[in-house]
């Protein structure tokens, strides 16, 4: 290994260590800060008690275990899922702009959520299920539409089908909002993305999908590396580019729909996180980019949520715009250094 290779290796390690430190700090802050500040020692005692089955009660402990812990877990799961979803889509479509919007998932999930918020606000418990189901339906429609003709499953067909299906769902969402203007404010809050969670039951319902999506994504890391060398090379190495691409889209759709079910629309993370990881670490190797995108996404969203609920406490700002406020300057700085 020459000096250049050693430097690259050190850079990759620094990015992982940096992401882990940021993650740990964000989790501590997320549990400790909010409208009431709980000392870190109390946070540790509460968590230890929870893990060891000690049922002692106390107001701080209730705040941590019933409000902040589920919220932190949601931020971690959604951040990691969106980071991985973005890496899957950018890797499989070979397109730096690819994100869950491109394959129609965001439009579908938003429509699913609007159906409940606008048409049946009494059944708000169904919102996550509806967002998840419609996100997945949108992705399956895109795959089915693109699976026609001589170039079936090709990148161009997938992206164009995604744009068409996404447009249909977005139009339907706008129509629903126009027809029910009185309920539009809560719809807007959901669309902006929020980590105000219903607590453990929702997390428990969505977790299996996120776990399945993450497992599928991790098995696709090496096949995606083959795809990076082009469809012909991948095919000559015994990998079907179409199958890998469709599986990557399914993994991303499950992760993005599950994330939307938990936290509304936070699509920005999916685009930016994998790029930031590639730029910082100087590699596009998916066996590195995918897991580190999970770590970084989890860290960034958790940190963003802490900022969103503390800057104007007790008022809580929506985390979506907050992510953009934190993420865009960081990303532009990275881009400036890279180009």
């Amino acid at each position: 290994m020459d000096a250049g290779a050693a430097r690259t290796e050190v850079r990759r390690i620094i990015v992982v260590v940096g992401a882990l430190v940021a993650l740990a700090a964000a989790v501590c802050c997320s549990l400790a800060f909010g409208s009431v500040t709980v000392p870190v020692s109390e946070v540790a005692t509460s968590l230890f008690g929870w893990l060891t089955g000690d049922h002692a009660r106390g107001i701080d402990r209730e705040i941590i275990l019933q409000l902040r812990l589920p919220r932190t877990v949601t931020a971690l799961a959604v951040g990691a899922s969106l980071g991985v979803a973005g890496a899957m889509l950018q890797g499989s479509l070979g397109n730096p702009l690819a994100s869950p919007d491109v394959v129609g998932v965001t439009g579908g999930a938003a429509f699913g959520a609007m159906l409940v918020i606008l048409l049946s606000p009494g059944h708000v418990a169904l919102l996550p299920v509806s967002a998840l189901v419609f996100g997945l339906v949108a992705a399956l429609l895109v795959i089915a539409l693109s699976w026609t003709g001589v170039h079936r499953g090709g990148v161009g067909r997938l992206i164009l089908s995604g744009i068409a299906i996404g447009a249909i769902f977005t139009a339907a969402t706008s129509m629903l909002m126009a027809l029910h203007p009185s309920r539009a404010p809560s719809a807007v809050m959901w669309l902006a993305g929020s980590l105000q969670t219903e607590g453990w039951p929702t997390i428990r319902n969505v977790a299996p999908y996120l776990v399945a999506g993450l497992i599928l994504a991790f098995t696709l890391m090496r096949p995606l590396n083959r795809l990076a060398l082009g469809d012909e090379v991948a095919a000559s190495l015994g990998t079907s580019p179409r199958v890998v691409r469709v599986l990557a889209i399914i993994a991303a759709a499950i992760l993005a729909s599950g994330s939307a079910a938990l936290a509304g629309l936070l699509g920005f993370l999916g685009i930016v996180i994998p790029h930031a990881v590639r730029l910082l670490a100087g590699t596009s190797n998916n066996t590195y980019v995918v897991p580190v995108s999970a770590l970084s996404g989890a860290a960034l969203l958790t940190a963003g949520d802490v900022v969103a609920r503390t800057v104007k406490a007790p008022l809580e700002l929506p985390v979506g715009p907050m992510m953009v406020a934190i993420g865009v300057p960081l990303f532009l700085w990275l881009l400036r250094k890279a180009v």
Partner: protein, 260 residues
Amino acid sequence: MAFLEVSGAEVRIGDKQILRGADLAVDAGQLVAVVGPNGAGKSTLARAAAGLQKLSGGSVRWDGVDVGAIRARRLALIRAYIPQRPRVPEGVVVREAVLIGRSPHLRPLERLGAHDRDAAEQAMERAGVLAFADRPLTTLSGGELQRVQIAIGLAQEAPVLMADEPTSALDLGATSAMARLLRGLADDGLAVVLVVHDLALAAAVADEVVVLSDGRSVATGPPHEVLHDQQLRDVWHVDAELEADGRGRTALHVRWLDAG
């Protein structure tokens, strides 16, 4: 029977008949060049032989077994295929790219082992890319990139190497280096199929030449027997003659300005 035998291959893509009966055979230690004018179906024949393009007629047999009966990963252990225009991704260094060539040897979740790394190092050494193994692909010249593609193919440790116009974008020096590399690989015992435009190059390196015209193989044999003046006139519509001394020194004399 040859190790790879394509007979009467027909390929139809959409409404277009690309191959109408093409033959190709290659054995260990042999370099076979596929030549022909633009649109004759050279790349399609190579892809069909490599099992990457479905046939609408005829057959492709690897060691006597029909290509349709061989699973894709098994096929990747039999032949390496180097496409004409491979993608050059950002953020991938040469060594990583060559290690990707080991994937047919790995089970889905298996990690790269010491043997895989050794095979990749040997492939890089043989293809002459070790000197820039830690450089990103995006910083390489056309000739260096093509040699990396060959290294990826060699890392597969397949007995057959198929390359689709590996010299089409290269300058004279890089073309000559590629010619020496491919001939050397055949001399080492590999079966090499080379799709190529340059007839002088084909005549210098190939043991046999397959001439394709309008989707059909119209002649097969040693270069000096097949690439005669009449053949050049019939297939390429040029007044030209090929000169070869049998020791890898060739020239194509073309009457450029006074055709016919």
